[in-house]
Symmetry: D2
Subunit: 387 residues, 4 copies
């Protein structure tokens, strides 16, 4: 690392949502030493020494369709028990400053893809210059979107450029952000289950631009637990017969996922874990229910039926009652720090070693959490430790 | 490995108990290709090639205080749903043959330690000769025993020899079996939470005799789950605030554990996992209740309260409904095969790489299941693969 | 009651299914004093003295599309742990005799409603005469069916008679059995969620024929628990905010319910309880998943979010692991005994006092189990006690 | 009822504890129409018309060993999520006024029983006069106490008077409050599991003074659920085989209950429900664990093993995550209102119809919640409705 401390921009698509608001409150609180660093993987002893940017060197900005300013969003999260009210009261001024760097956008208008993409690119570049950032990480936290229809334009960057000029929509919002991020020379994290950068044309664009990226679909709750329990059944040679799951959640995510299409995208992403860890197909019905009264608090129930020695049938159940934003926010900060460092260290393309953070990891069939953590630690130290 | 296939004796202390009966039924059924090898860790693809003895090369014998013959014990287990009735009906003749190699013993009589130990040693040696075994693994499956009072005789083999001749009891039953096993030149597995070979005098005796041993307290249910969930909380930097557990079990084990002292021994063995994996002390009340109507079926409930980013409080619960004998029996067979192979390969002393199988692993502070499995695989291949 | 003991025919639509097979095995076993009367509500002390037919006075017959004979069906249930194998072995001869009174039918052929209905009616009448039954109770245990399209012919018996002669289907199978039962002078129980007798035309037919009937959708598991928990929240003035439920089940029922339409019918029937007990609408997503590996064993998970004093938010969860056939079979026998007695006592029309047995009780908005039981007891004694 | 609205004093033993603080906050909030009346049984439609005192006619006072003033106690409860912070901020002034009517006491000093009892009596009387109360209800909310040693002085009021003058302790604190309450002409509620008024001498004293009383041990969580589930198993004739329970709780109560003796008293009180509802003895191990990190939030897990038709084994589990103070506080207000009304209506002695509120109801073997509620409603209307 250079003697100069780099200044890192973090640009959120969905900057006023629960996850990004919690992440921003947390980064400010840590900078002021108001809280512990609980939940941050990048603060684990195993990663000590890796030359990650400090929290005080992160500058936040972004887009959102919601005009509610960040201080108000933070108060609402405090009322819902997601972040401590006392913390929000102390940080209200600084949250207001961050909010000045958030620009309101409309949804993607029909037939105006290229303008939208250029607007995103322009806003990111302006942010980088104005804030004098050495590097910017673009993090997609926008709502879960329906699966994207296939298009020949997805195969090649040049074909994509042409298609974007046409009236037919070829990229979903998550992919438009990836496209704009890469054009602007930024690394990219897709924390949602959408397509994001996972189209050959975009992957090629990242490669040409020599930019690293990571995704997709942050692993925060039920799937996190699956990624340790499924390997447990595997190494004990116990045969999983069925694994049924139900997720109850409210908040914006709950509402979005109630939309059947969107659920299909999420459920598919969750389903990979079992087959790839166990090595055989398991009957695994999975439901996501919108229960508005639960807000940001997600409750999942899983029922695992398995078979042991001589065919004896047994069962395990678990319930997970977690606050999704509080689980996701530190991972977003981890990813921003790690990817900024990887960018500085000259890595480009999909970073398979970040599979640890995702339900549907790009370029990796490793879903076992312990093995993912080992890869992460080795990769991170390989980027360069503090001198 | 020699061209000759070695014949391996497996001598059970507690040969007519549920675990050993299930293990014997299973080994016979596998030899006759009547069942799948589900639940056997030694049959995992990761261990393929390791020159373990075949199931057909295992000869079973042992001691028990219970006169009920094995075929009858197997029928009772079938009635309780632990093993399939059809399997027992097919194997009843062979179970009767095995039963001829089981000798009934009384409990340890006061003031007759040395006679008891010599009797055990003699029976094991006679079994080895009569059955023409190349090697014998002694497996302790006797009931959970109260913690042992400390004695100076535990420190040194010679002091122990002397003390055993006196009237004051210095070794519990599990340790007497370890002592007799080592004197008879056999490797030893302690599958119960008792002291077993874990006294300096016995460890030294094993070393002198150049014998490998393993223990203690088979990890079959709640602790197995803990050994993957605790590392999950750790790598995600989530702070566990309390971890309360309740185990309901019937059967002989339930009755024994109802005895408060015995429970203390079991609970202590279970408690190591959390502190050593998490690196801090956690409030972790743990109960073991004897619920006779549950028989061999154990139900455990764990409630984990944890803290995430910015101190947000969350919780996870799980219930585990497992058949203890069906979970333990294949591990006993795994350990017999692995330890026999280690003995043949010239290993001696406590085998830390077998920590994977135990709640309270000897010579190892590694309780994370994934890491334990890696060590196991490396160690096993190090013993020698099939040529 | 007359001095003569009446002989009661029980005619099952679905006579070789799991529920009816279990009911028949149970009635025979009780007659031979081979088992306790556990699970039979009609054997509660509160109903002692009510002049119900004895189990030995019940004669079973019925229809099924499945040709597998009852002794074989019973063996399969024994293998699945639903009924004890030893019991089946003792009763195999008598089960074979009952099977001679079961006639195989095809599914309802298109455009042949009237022939089908007449065939059913004829078979029931022939059974009654051949077996010299004083009265026959027809019990519908056929598969859950999709909701029925409305038709003007449902309003009036005479219009219905005409419509049945036409090519357009106007009655589902459950309703065709109700129609045939009433024409044959038999009382009728609908144990499934289908329309059954709940059409004005059929209700009027029952009234004309002076026949009692009961329904619908046997309350065996999750809804049973709801019918005591919802009143608990109500009398404590705790406000239920959401009540989410998931049902995992295999067996024939699981497969049928996987069909989305059929699920709609089942879910609607389950949903009545909450609104009617609590007096306000509650967000209550409900899933029924087909998990073949669970067979007859149903596992339900319910998550109740509620609000207490000063708006404090709390939660309750339960899981129910029950064997559906073992829960349903005794209720079917209870209903047959009670309805036969009501028929003998001259009752006609829907019997609201049998609401205790049903998820979707006809003519009753009372879903609270304790109050339903009080009504049942009062009604039963009102029919006439033994002299 | 007289045209004059009576003014009712409510005197708490333990006035600054979580339950009483929550009750006082709630009564003030209701008086000012700041909150809904959720959780108050006395506000159920079934009790509409009963001439209960309004919340604005209740005056609070009491004793506590803790000097922390009520406004501070309320803030602490708000931080713990038990009461809304905004509510506390609005009521801080009035809470301060109530706190002036709370007098700090020391624990019961050895050998000074009679002085202690007279001091309590004097403070209650002074409160009644100063506040011009028509009647006072004394509510015991002090900590769970160990079971009381039997004494001949418990049999007779006159013997008790003598014994209290001696140096040997004969009454626990809960009983001393009952004694003082009755001497002062006040009705008495024992909300804790201690002896309270349940000694022949005290019951006789209440009769002589013509005072009503109620107890004991408020039914707030796990036992509340048991009191509806056990009757469910009973009316369905399902045989409960075992019912194991674990309660995790923190707060002051958790710490007290960690004391083994005190737990014995609580566990005995909980155990009555099953035997009396089911009519047979059930193996029912019950644990209460002190888990400080849970604070006022109690989590209970119950595992019920039961047997259905033909002996089929099934199981049900539930977890209850409740805030104990939020569950108890409205019941305390209900009891104060109901008992004040009963006192005005001339009732004396133990009020069995209040069994609905208690784990260990005095003078009643009815533990079924539905039946208890019916008795309560009938009894309350019998006291006199508003004209």
């Amino acid at each position: 690392m250079s003697a100069e401390v780099p200044r890192i921009g973090v640009w959120f698509a969905g900057a006023r949502g629960s996850v990004s608001t919690t992440a921003i409150v947390g980064a400010l609180a840590i900078t002021h030493k108001l809280v512990e660093r609980t939940g941050l993987v990048s603060e684990r002893p195993e990663l000590a020494g890796v030359a990650l940017p400090d929290f005080g060197d992160l500058v936040f900005g972004g887009h959102d369709v919601d005009p509610t300013p960040l201080p108000r969003r933070a108060e609402l999260l405090a009322d819902a028990g997601v972040v401590p009210g006392a913390l929000v009261r102390k940080l209200v001024g600084e949250l207001g400053e961050v909010d000045h760097r958030v620009r309101q956008v409309t949804g993607l208008p029909a037939g105006r893809q290229i303008e939208y993409a250029r607007r995103v690119e322009h806003d990111i570049e302006e942010f980088r210059e104005r804030e004098a950032c050495d590097r910017v990480v673009v993090v997609n936290l926008s709502s879960t979107e329906p699966p994207l229809a296939a298009s020949p334009a997805h195969a090649d960057p040049d074909a994509l450029e042409l298609a974007l000029r046409g009236p037919t929509p070829v990229l979903s919002v998550s992919s438009l952000y990836a496209y704009a991020a890469f054009r602007a020379g930024c690394s990219f994290v897709d924390f949602t289950p959408g397509a994001g950068a996972r189209l050959p044309a975009l992957a090629e664009l990242a490669r040409r631009q020599r930019l690293p990226w990571a995704g997709s679909d942050g692993k925060t709750g039920e799937t996190l637990v699956k990624s340790v329990l499924a390997p447990m059944f595997a190494v004990r040679n116990l045969r999983v017969r069925s694994w049924a799951g139900t997720n109850l959640l409210g908040g914006g995510d709950g509402a979005t996922l109630a939309d059947e299409q969107a659920t299909a995208s999420k459920a598919a992403s969750k389903a990979r874990v079992l087959g790839e860890v166990l090595g055989y197909e398991v009957d695994a019905p999975l439901h996501i229910d919108n229960v508005p009264d639960l807000g940001d608090w997600k409750t999942a129930w899983d029922h695992v039926s398995f078979e042991g020695f001589l065919g004896t049938r047994m069962a395990m159940q678990f319930t997970w009652s977690g606050c999704d934003s509080a689980l996701a926010a530190p991972l977003v900060l981890d990813l921003a720090r790690l990817l900024a460092h990887a960018h500085g260290a000259g890595r480009s393309g999909p970073q398979a070693a970040l599979a640890f953070f995702f339900k549907d990891p790009v370029d990796s069939a490793e879903h076992r959490l312990a093995q993912q953590f080992e890869s992460l630690v080795e990769w991170a130290h390989g980027l360069g430790d503090r001198s």
